[in-house]
């Protein structure tokens, strides 16, 4: 059942992305993007990343996509514009993209993805990374728990009361605590990134005052 839902969401995501990339009408492409975003949100839910899923819905589906469609609506004649995808000679593009696909597949299915290494209790475990991804949601796999424990452990100066509970209902609480304790610095830095983006956007979009307007504002002040 779990696998089935996973494949459904994966299918929606990939098909949506393909239509977005290939379709020549920008409105159709924008709506196909909607399916990709929703599919990705579904994959996040499957990976126990509920906070990320909600963020994905709110920011991408609710914000960016709506903006995009408004942009299409308010721009004259863009609807009829024929988008020609021209990324160079076709054989080269095909070789490059298929090669990338082959490398990624090799990384997931290939022999080097299978390891037999000693686990902590001395037993030899032979695990393929692919089987691990499909059998269990990511949050429950061993490395994820390890990573959580490492992040939360004392050696990084984390407050000891922050702990992941087994089978806890959500990640938002932990994310919130981590953001204001361990990851305070990135949290603050993001404000600088946003400020720069804001200044840049206003600077580019601002209307340059004409000479008459300048004279008017001077006479008013």
């Amino acid at each position: 059942m779990f696998d089935l839902i996973f494949y459904i969401f994966a299918f929606i995501t990939v098909v949506g992305a393909a239509v977005t990339a290939i379709h020549r009408n920008i409105v159709y492409a924008a709506f196909a993007l909607l399916f990709t975003f929703v599919g990705v949100a579904g994959l996040y839910v499957m990976a126990n990343a509920d906070f990320l899923a909600v963020t994905q819905m709110m920011v991408y589906v609710g914000g960016i996509l709506i903006l995009l469609i408004f942009g299409v609506m308010l721009t004259n004649r863009i609807q009829s514009a024929n988008i020609v995808v021209n990324a160079g000679p076709k054989p080269v593009v095909a070789i490059l993209s298929l090669g990338l696909l082959a490398i990624l597949c090799a990384a997931f299915f290939g022999p080097s993805a299978t390891h037999s290494e000693k686990s902590k209790d001395g037993k030899t475990a032979s695990v393929s990374s692919w089987s691990n991804y499909t059998q269990q949601p990511w949050a429950a796999t061993q490395w994820n728990k390890d990573a959580n424990e490492r992040i939360l452990s004392e050696k990084f100066g984390a407050p000891s009361e922050v702990k992941t509970k087994e089978g806890s209902s959500g990640t938002s609480v932990e994310i919130g605590k981590l953001l204001l304790s361990d990851y305070l610095l990135p949290f603050e830095i993001v404000s600088i990134v946003l400020l720069v983006a804001l200044i840049g956007a206003t600077m580019i979009a601002r209307k340059e005052p004409t000479l008459e307007e300048e004279a008017l504002s001077e006479s008013l002040s």
Binding site: S112, A113, A147, V196
Partner: protein, 490 residues
């Protein structure tokens, strides 16, 4: 956040606060003045002082493993802030002549330096990534700050689209590295790569990790405009305002190199790495370096516009520094640090002189315009000649010692062929650098009357003269810089 954390990020705080102060000042000022530039200079100086204070303090990893504060980060903070101060001084005249917005310009310069400092000191891939984004977004806007000029808009858009794509590669690389190692903390990645800590058995895949490293290399190689990812550089540097191009091609590149060093020789490929593919990655880096050096210098030979020539030669300089990274040894790190400092001085002042000589209608970039410059502007011609000799790597000037250390590092790492490629490409480079000197001194302009213009002592001239003096001093007493760096990186 305790006292040590606060001290560690003090340069960052000073830069960001100055940026905010510039914006506030600009908002409440009735008549536009040049005080934002003054504030930028003061802020940059303040960051330098704070970084010097950090150099002497004990090295810490602040914020629970997120932010390095040690001599390495202090050194890079100093050179980035110095680059900001130099470009603020250089842009005073330039912006005034073209009646451009000064407030936002200064704020963006300061915030981009914030991003660079984060890149040089990020002890966690998240901080490195955020630093890269801060710097890049500021650069996208700075490239398009000439809003009325088509070439500037084109440069900005081109840089933005390609740059976001490269950032995507970088982010995917981070995701793969996190997926395989289970951590984004560079110190932890280092221990895993050295085999001191157990690999997360379930997901550790050496192929995925190699792929992650390659993606990170693609992202960073774009930012330094190394060979196959260089196509944006000539157009962007030519289209954006000259002072901005000078700042982007120096401070931006060296910032990317500072995190290159943290990511590769420090974390992902320490010398005794047990990871299987590490030699292959080293070869990839070496090939990128060799191609960038050859390509940049060979194409620069055929350029007739000086800005484009400098842009192509900056690809070659990225190759020299990439050579130091690919050596993966201590000499390489020292070499990159020395070359970063020297390169910032050379290239910023070269672009500075171009910005002084260009006309406000967008002409004055042809190499032909430099014919007989020694008669018209004897002082500027003299300074430009020294800069060109230093860029070519002629011994008495500082550029030589930077290259010497980088090539030495390659030889120590057993890559003699790479050092040979480096030397050959430097010889090619000396052709077009020396050609500028020949044009300025030994060619007569036939159609114009040679009138010597007395040099006005303005901030641009002071900045250029300071940079050239530093090049001379560092060239004659290289031990000054080398000993300091040797002491810093012990």
């Amino acid at each position: 956040m305790n006292y040590n954390d606060f001290i560690a990020v003090l340069p960052l705080i000073i830069l960001a606060m100055t940026g905010l102060a510039v914006m506030m000042w600009d908002a409440f000022e009735k008549v536009p003045s040049r005080s934002p530039l003054l504030l930028t200079v003061v802020g940059g100086m303040g960051a330098i002082v704070a970084a010097v204070a950090n150099l002497t303090a004990a090295p810490v990893i602040a914020f629970g493993g997120l932010f390095f504060s040690n001599t390495y980060t202090g050194f890079f903070t100093i050179i980035f802030s110095a680059a900001a101060v130099l470009s603020a001084l250089l842009s005073e005249q330039f912006l005034k002549e073209r009646e451009m917005i000064i407030g936002e310009y200064c704020a963006l310069i300061l915030f981009s330096v914030c991003g660079m400092v984060m890149m040089a000191s990020g002890a966690n891939l998240i901080v490195t990534f955020l630093g890269l984004e801060t710097m890049s977004i500021a650069f996208y806007v700075l490239a398009g700050i000439f809003r009325k000029e088509e070439s500037s808009n084109e440069a900005s858009l081109k840089y933005f689209l390609l740059g976001s794509f490269a950032t995507g590669f970088f982010l995917y690389g981070i995701a793969l590295v996190y997926g395989t190692t289970g951590t984004m903390n560079l110190a932890e990645i280092r221990t895993i790569m050295l085999g001191l800590a157990p690999k997360p058995a379930a997901t550790y895949s050496s192929l995925l990790l190699t792929l992650g490293m390659l993606f990170i290399i693609v992202g960073l190689a774009f930012k330094v405009s190394a060979f196959p990812f260089h196509q944006w550089a000539p157009d962007v540097y030519e289209g954006s305002p000259t002072v901005v191009a000078g700042f982007m091609s120096t401070a931006g590149k060296t910032a990317a190199f500072s995190s290159f060093i943290l990511l590769f020789p420090y974390a992902l490929l320490p010398t005794a790495a047990v990871h299987l593919g590490s030699e292959k990655i080293q070869i990839v880096l070496a090939i990128l370096a060799a191609c960038s050096m050859l390509y940049g210098n060979i194409v620069a030979v055929s350029q007739t516009r000086i800005k484009r020539m400098l842009a192509y030669s900056s690809i070659a300089h990225a190759g020299y520094m990439l050579l130091g990274v690919s050596a993966l040894n201590e000499n390489g790190i020292t070499g990159v640090a020395i070359y970063s400092a020297v390169y910032i001085l050379m290239q910023i002042s070269a672009f500075g002189i171009v910005s002084v000589l260009e006309k406000s209608d967008g002409n004055g970039f042809e190499l032909e315009d430099y014919v007989g410059l020694s008669k018209r502007r004897p002082w500027l011609a003299f300074l430009l000649a020294i800069i060109m000799l230093s860029l070519a790597g002629i011994p008495p000037f500082a550029g030589f010692f930077g290259k010497y250390y980088l090539f030495l590092a390659a030889i120590n790492a057993g890559m003699v062929w790479l050092a040979i490629v480096g030397v050959v490409s430097s010889i090619i480079a000396s052709y077009f650098y020396l050609r500028v000197i020949v044009l300025m001194y030994f060619r007569q302009a036939n159609d114009q009357v040679e009138v010597s213009v007395p040099e006005k002592i303005n901030t641009s001239f002071v900045a250029i003269a300071f940079a050239v003096a530093a090049l001379l001093v560092l060239g004659i007493y290289p031990s000054l810089l080398i000993n300091t760096i040797g002491y810093l990186f012990r």
